[in-house]
């Protein structure tokens, strides 16, 4: 206990699972500098993704999950300061030149965004937007790129792809647009696909269709899938492993089945409790997580969740618990975790 430094989990544990990680993030920190002060959006997270794996990063807004994804894509704005390491196939990507990163984006790691209403250029035909993703990385001519774009449209199950190629984004429904965004992401066969709240803006039926499509495509192409979401329920249905983030840190990590068999970290439990269930009594208020989301401009001495935690004790306020492996394949950062099977 006393060995942990005041700043938190300064020495991250090795959270490697398989033999050869495809994407390895270690002690990633992202700080936004501004005149108003610094915002510590990501405070030292570590994890890795194996080829073909489906991993979910779960957290509420401001937990640093999207910023982490943007760091992995190297598309953070210039005001962001990134330290730590992001290795793709063993190659360090942090600190690379813009030219090298351009080569990496879209080809090695690709991303599906949250809002299909806005993530496509309204003045450009969808086909051209897909073809652009292809010709950026592959030495194909116009005609070949056109054929490949139609193939991709067919792959994401868009009917009449030859006609859709020439349409503009506003002529497509939200679900169709998200399919186009997925086609763009898959254009160059990336090894890792990051889906950042990819279904949040869609209605429930479309949401399920898009998730099923993503999993099917993952199977077809063998790409690893990193789902970023606030929805623990979504992760439960689709991901193999779950990472829970809070205040820029990983607070719990486990294989999905084990996580739902017994949550350790009170924050994860609070997230679970906030999911509406079919057997909940009508007109009963859903439990919400009390208090405010953490202020990321100050690093607290203790556990960042302490002010909102139902299990809080004095030592939580004094010292932040480090993320440690407590059981095979299970990590958590908590001084007073729930016992196995308890807290449900």
């Amino acid at each position: 206990m006393a060995s942990a430094t005041a700043a938190g989990d300064a020495a991250p544990p090795d959270v490697r699972l398989g033999p050869s990680p495809l994407l390895e993030v270690s002690d990633l920190r992202v700080t936004f500098h501004s005149r108003a002060g610094n915002v510590y959006a990501v405070q030292g997270i570590s994890f890795s993704i194996e080829p073909g794996q489906t991993l979910a990063i779960i957290g509420e807004s401001g937990s640093g999950k999207t910023v982490s994804a943007q760091a992995m894509m190297a598309i953070l704005p210039r005001t962001a300061h990134v330290t730590g390491s992001i290795r793709f196939n063993g190659e360090e990507m942090v600190g690379r030149s813009e030219r090298e990163l351009r080569d990496y984006r879209g080809r090695c790691v690709a991303m599906v965004f949250q809002n299909p209403e806005r993530s496509l250029n309204p003045t450009m035909r969808v086909g051209s937007q897909i073809a652009e993703a292809i010709t950026t990385h592959l030495p194909l001519d116009r005609k070949q790129a056109h054929e490949r774009a139609i193939e991709l449209l067919r792959m994401v199950r868009i009917p009449a792809p030859e006609r859709r190629f020439y349409e503009y984004p506003h002529q497509l429904s939200g679900g169709m647009r998200q399919r186009v965004v997925i086609a763009i992401a898959l254009a160059c066969g990336p090894a890792v696909l990051i889906a950042d709240e990819a279904t949040t803006a869609l209605d429930v039926t479309t949401q399920a269709q898009i998730m099923d499509l993503l999993l099917d495509l993952q199977e077809e192409t063998g790409t690893a899938l990193l789902m970023i979401s606030h929805d623990l329920g979504l992760a439960a249905s689709y991901a193999e492993d779950v990472i829970v983030m809070y205040a820029g840190k990983v607070v719990e990590r486990a294989p999905t089945k084990e996580l739902f068999a017994g949550v350790r970290m009170p924050y994860t439990q609070a997230l679970l409790d906030a999911i509406p269930r079919i057997d909940t009594q009508p007109h009963v208020l859903l439990p919400v997580i009390g208090g405010r989301p953490p202020d990321l401009s100050v690093i607290p001495a203790g556990c960042p969740f302490a002010p909102r935690c139902p299990e809080v004790q004095q030592d939580c306020r004094d010292q932040a618990p480090p993320l440690k492996q407590h059981e095979p394949e299970r990590w958590w950062a908590c001084w007073h975790p729930y016992r196995k099977g308890a807290g449900q």
Partner: protein, 344 residues
């Protein structure tokens, strides 16, 4: 029987063509706009008629000069129908306009229509030439500024733009005449060669006036386009999508953001065109170009009401047509507008 059938089909396809033409959104928009312009144009001519009437002096005394006797002036007034009541004169003029007759100049035997026919091409060329110069300079400059916001190019262009917007056209005109005509003798200070006589000679005489007209526009459009481009690059999701594809910043600027920013710029140009047409009056006077603005100033000092009214009408029509062209261009630039129009 077969003949009648074919005739029928021809007439049917003919009417289908007519229906499609009538149903063309661009055509319907144009029709609506031109109809709604009629009261505006009428109001403008009435206002200028009243204002001209409120000015001291009339055409008879202005044309005869200060040495004319009151008797001479009176008889000349009767000859020009200036002794008739205001409303009779306006009604007479309006009746003429409605039958396609703009009347005859009071100062010369020429018809107003022929004066406008002679003078209008000069002004049109001036406006078009100035707009071409504006675009050739401000579009690349704005892209350069937006590529490195707050960089050296951006900051120096900001200073120059502010200067070019602040300086009055007559000061700028005289300054450029001193520099380019008097000091370096690159361009003539005054004079005009028609396009028909010599293209090179025409450009030689028109370049300096067009630059004077263009400079404030360059400053304004560069700043506007630059601001819009930076906004697109910083806050639009489709830009993030393009970055995530691995597309270079240059290509995102020129292929993605520029077209979207043109939509905003178009609004400004539409609002600005009336001011531009007004500025031609001053520039033509400075460079003694025989354009319509030059003629307008002459006609006002001669109290040559039919010519003034005719030119005011032409200016009004020009503004209406320019705004219509702007609106039609929206549809070309923005596929969303095109399709909404087609549906309504």
């Amino acid at each position: 029987m077969s003949t009648s059938a074919s005739v029928q089909s021809v007439s049917r396809s003919g009417s289908a063509f007519a229906r499609r033409l009538a149903g063309s959104p661009a055509l319907r928009l144009s029709g609506r706009r031109l109809l709604s312009a009629i009261p505006v144009l009428w109001g403008v001519t009435l206002l200028s008629f009243l204002m001209l009437n409120a000015l001291p002096g009339d055409a008879a005394s202005a044309l005869l000069g200060i040495n004319a006797t009151p008797a001479e002036i009176r008889s000349f007034s009767i000859k020009l129908h200036l002794n008739e009541p205001l409303w009779t004169r306006y009604g007479h003029w309006l009746a003429g306009v409605l039958t396609g007759n703009l009347g005859t100049s009071l100062a010369s035997p020429q018809s107003v229509a022929s004066i406008i026919g002679q003078r209008l091409p000069v002004t049109l060329e001036l406006v078009i030439y100035a707009l071409i110069i504006t675009f050739v300079v401000s579009v690349p400059l704005a892209v350069l500024c937006a590529r490195w916001p707050r960089g050296v190019i951006d900051q120096s262009s900001l200073v120059l733009s502010m200067a070019s917007i602040s300086v009055a056209p007559y000061v700028l005109g005289l300054f450029l005449v001193i520099l380019f005509a008097v000091h370096w003798s690159i361009f003539p200070a005054i004079g005009y060669t028609s396009l028909g006589a010599s293209v090179a000679g025409n450009l030689h005489t028109m370049t300096l006036p067009s630059i004077v007209l263009a400079i404030p526009l360059i400053g304004f459009y560069t700043r506007f386009l630059r601001a819009d481009l930076v906004e697109q690059m910083q806050s639009e999701d489709y830009v993030v999508t393009a970055r995530a594809k691995g597309v270079s910043e240059w290509r995102i600027l020129t292929r993605h953001a520029l077209r979207n920013s043109f939509i905003g710029l178009l609004t400004v140009i539409g609002l600005n065109l009336a001011t531009l047409i007004g500025a031609t009056v001053i520039v033509e006077e400075i460079f003694s170009l025989p354009g319509i603005g030059f003629e307008l100033l002459n006609a006002i000092s001669n109290r040559d009401v039919p010519v003034v009214e005719g030119i005011v009408l032409v200016f009004g029509i020009a503004v209406v047509l320019a705004n219509l062209a702007t609106d039609l261009l929206y549809g070309v630039l923005d596929p969303r507008i095109r399709h909404v129009r087609a549906r309504s």
